[in-house]
């Protein structure tokens, strides 16, 4: 009897399993798709992904965007918000019941802090789905598998990729694979105070050309800086502080040196060029033209006020200074500090490339492109992530493609004085009608985006600023990039320490170079990744 009951029970269970299996398989075979092929037709791809998500019961996709930088560069996160709106619109118009929601727009001032946060939170699955940061961190993030390899996806969107400046696409690669799309870039001009120049008889007419053809070099900068000092101006030169990346290493390139050897894949300590760099800075300090403690100056209370108040003739800055001076209260000559007006910035500052170190060499500038990167776990806060990972990743890629729309890129460029990364965006900047529409925020943008950029637009969108961007765009032809090598930040830190010690007079330029070499060799791992080339030049004189 017991045996019969057992057999009966087993049959019932078996029937149940078979029946449920049949029902299940019937449902799966009907509509569920867990991947989509990218074709290069944006609308078609977005619809295919939207329908696939819908068929899997996903009606809301949540993403978060992390960005960092100066206060005017908020489009680094709001570009993603706008991209989401544009994709949502496509879905809505085509009856796809899916919506992207940007749950978090995390924006911090320091891009290094943002990188540290991303690095520590990514393995825990708590980092943003989109991460905009310097290309300098891309190799480490790519090497650790923390960002998405988009090479395959980008192949389908060759038409879009080709519109980016090729040097910037190269900066988005690691070991030949594409890990992001350029978001912005900049140049680092040498600013010259026109009023101080006029006072000392320094004729600035044609100065851009003279710098371009290598006729005006750092020897001339030193000459005029001395003249300015003699005339009672406090300083001849002010420059940025920080980890010597990416500002002061322009000296290495300006003296014909290099920082990276393509053949060996190693970083390079170019001894002659570094010695000349340190010597020039040391000489400027010795002559009282450059503050010896500049590396510990306060940005808001010392560096910027000294420049905008005309207490220096030259300044090694960045293109973004142009609008930063118009939005931050740095000018305190009339009592309460206030921002400059566009007309004042135009009237007071001339700008050139970073001059050649000596005659016969070329001028340079340095860019640090920011890159849209996609978290390799993008979309993980959404349902059925393991099953639908491919769809979420492709959707994230399409969002970056959308966030790179020429108008979004152009808005960012104009309001933050960064240079556009796409040729189409560069054209838009010169379009007066479009600029006027931007000024009045008469553009088809997400209300959240409009609200967040309203104040910045009011102070920065101006024909003078657009002209400035157009004027400095040529500098990208001369641009150099710091090496995208995981060990470069460690080397940059050593450069900073050496420059600081030389500026403070704790070391001579020669001792500074030896200090760099000693520090590199002190860490066996760094030493393996760095080549030390050349020797300290004998009988070299400056100026």
């Amino acid at each position: 009897m017991k045996g019969k009951v057992g057999v009966l029970l087993a049959m019932v269970v078996l029937f149940g399993v078979i029946a449920s299996g049949c029902i299940g398989s019937q449902e799966t075979s009907e509509t569920k798709t867990t991947s989509a092929e990218l074709t290069g037709d944006f609308v078609k791809d977005v619809l295919a992904i939207g329908k696939a998500l819908e068929s899997n019961g996903v009606n809301e996709v949540k993403f978060s965007a992390w960005g960092s930088g100066d206060p005017n560069s908020v489009m680094r996160v709001y570009g993603i918000v706008e991209a989401a709106r544009r994709i949502n619109k496509v879905w809505e118009e085509n009856g796809v019941n899916v919506k992207i929601t940007i749950t978090d727009t995390h924006y911090v001032a320091s891009f290094q802090d943002a990188y540290q946060e991303y690095l520590s939170k990514q393995p825990l699955g708590q980092a943003g789905d989109f991460f905009v940061n310097s290309y300098a961190f891309l190799p480490t993030l790519a090497d650790e598998g923390y960002i998405l390899d988009i090479t395959e996806y980008a192949n389908a969107y060759k038409n879009v990729i080709d519109d980016f400046y090729s040097s910037l696409i190269e900066a988005s690669k690691f070991k030949g694979k594409l890990y992001g799309l350029p978001q912005d870039t900049e140049a680092r001009p040498l600013y010259i105070r026109k009023d101080v120049a006029a006072k000392i008889g320094f004729n600035l007419e044609g100065i851009e050309e003279k710098v371009k053809n290598g006729e005006f070099t750092w020897g001339d900068v030193s000459y005029w800086a001395k003249k300015a000092k003699e005339s009672g101006v406090e300083w001849g030169l002010i420059h940025r502080k920080g980890s010597a990346h990416p500002d002061l290493i322009q000296f290495i390139f300006a003296f014909g040196g290099k920082l990276y050897d393509e053949d060996s894949g190693k970083l390079v300590v170019d001894v002659p060029a570094i010695y000349k760099w340190l010597y020039v800075e040391w000489k400027f300090v010795q002559d009282g033209l450059l503050p010896k403690d500049i590396m510990s100056w306060d940005w808001a209370k010392q560096i910027h006020p000294a420049i905008v108040e005309g207490r220096t003739l030259f300044d090694i800055g960045g293109t973004w200074y142009w609008t930063e001076w118009q939005t931050k209260e740095y000018y305190g000559k009339e009592g309460t500090p206030r921002p400059l007006k566009p007309e004042e910035v135009q009237a007071w500052f001339a700008y050139t490339l970073f001059p050649a170190g000596e005659k016969g060499l070329k001028p340079v500038t340095l860019s640090q492109p920011f890159i849209w990167m996609i978290n390799s776990k993008a979309g993980q806060q959404n349902p059925k992530y393991d099953e639908l990972e491919d769809l979420y990743h492709k959707l994230a890629f399409l969002m970056v493609i959308k966030a790179s729309d020429p108008d979004i890129n152009a808005i960012h460029s104009v309001i933050s004085a960064h240079l556009p990364v796409r040729k189409e965006a560069a054209k838009l900047i010169s379009d007066e009608k479009w600029l006027n529409d931007l000024k009045n925020l008469n553009l088809d943008l997400d209300p959240q985006v409009k609200t967040n950029i309203k104040d910045i637009v009011a102070t920065t969108v101006h024909p003078i600023n657009a002209k400035f961007l157009a004027d400095v765009s040529y500098m990208l032809e001369y641009t150099k990039l710091a090496p995208a090598h995981p060990k470069y930040p460690a080397l940059a830190d050593i450069f900073k320490e050496a420059v600081d010690k030389v500026l403070r007079g704790e070391m001579t330029p020669e001792e500074g170079v030896n200090y760099i070499i000693q520090k590199v060799n002190a860490d066996p791992e760094l030493a393996q990744n760095v080549e030390i080339v050349g020797e300290i030049p004998k009988d070299w004189k400056f100026p």
């Binding site: 598998g145 100056w297 520090k519």
Partner: protein, 313 residues
């Protein structure tokens, strides 16, 4: 009987044993393990099982031999811990004794004022000193001295090496630490029977004599506790130092202690080398254990924990 005693002991000690194991022992063992791996950039999946033997220790000792910064780090650690410890312990003792002899309302106000550095958020507190010691004329100290005509040029206090940098970090951390000793010593003083002090007063003893002959000898335990605790705290503290160095107020070379070096190596900019940092942390732990042991020996801890003669088993 023995088994029952063991059971009772285990029962009462188990919460503490579990806590010590969970929050002290396991992290220490884990740190030692990481120091033998190639762990970096938080990538546990990739590196946590990649054992590299003594590689991190070899690299660390190579750096100690050849990197001038590493020798400075050790020297700075010794000077910083040594001097700040003296300030913290004796400053706390002095404040406790000082407030013991004044009326209660003034004593409370003084104690509250000295607690302010500990109550303030680290960033805010450090920012105050950043602007106070700033090396240009925007610095409060320079500005005051220049207005008084004492200085004609601002002095970059934190960049004068080594003593300028050391003085700033010792001053800033010293102020934070004093309050800890003050509280412990004050509570110890309040436990001393008032009759002893009154009797001494009747006999004509001065405040100094009362302190030296009665109060301080009765606070031996507390002194040992504050000294050991503060020594270990100072050896491992880094947040204030991190900010002061980060903001370029003090020289990086002479503002970096071993604890800050461990932090910067593990979580600093660029590549974050947690394997190397763990090796340095193990070294720091060994110094801490040895230092703590020496402190207990010197202050004759063993004598102090002898069972009282009057106790009966």
């Amino acid at each position: 009987m023995k088994g029952e005693k063991l059971r009772n002991l285990s029962f009462f000690l188990s919460p503490m044993i579990i806590m010590v194991g969970l929050f002290y022992l396991i992290p220490l063992i884990f740190t030692i393990y990481i120091s033998f791996t190639k762990m970096r950039n938080w990538n546990t999946e990739r590196y946590l099982t990649e054992v590299v033997g003594l590689y991190n220790y070899q690299r660390l000792f190579h750096m100690f031999q050849h990197d001038p910064l590493m020798r400075t780090v050790l020297l700075t650690t010794v000077v910083f811990v040594g001097i700040t410890l003296i300030i913290n312990v004796f400053g706390g003792l002095l404040l406790a004794l000082g407030t013991f002899f004044v009326n209660e309302s003034s004593a409370s106000t003084i104690r509250l004022l000295w607690l302010l550095p500990r109550m303030s958020p680290i960033a805010v507190y450090s920012l105050v000193w950043y602007y106070f010691f700033h090396g240009s004329d925007i610095g409060t100290l320079n500005s005051i001295l220049m207005k008084l005509g004492v200085l004609s040029q601002p002095i970059p206090w934190g960049q004068i090496v080594p003593w300028g940098a050391w003085s700033v970090i010792i001053f800033v951390n010293g102020l934070v630490g004093v309050s800890f000793g003050m509280i412990v010593f004050t509570s110890a003083l309040n436990q001393i029977p008032k009759e002893l002090v009154i009797a001494a007063r009747v006999d004509g003893a001065s405040a100094w004599q009362i302190s030296r002959r009665i109060l301080i000898p009765m606070m031996k335990w507390h002194f040992l506790y504050v000294l050991t605790w503060q020594f270990l705290s100072l050896l491992t503290t880094y947040p204030h130092l991190f900010l002061l160095v980060q903001w370029d107020l003090v020289s990086r070379d002479y503002g970096t202690t071993l604890a800050l070096y461990v932090y910067n190596t593990a979580f600093g900019r660029g590549e974050q080398d947690q394997g190397l940092a763990a090796a340095a942390a193990v070294l720091l732990s060994i110094i801490g254990i040895l230092g703590g042991f020496v402190t207990l020996k010197v202050l004759q801890f063993e004598k102090m924990i002898h069972e009282p003669r009057g106790d009966i088993e």
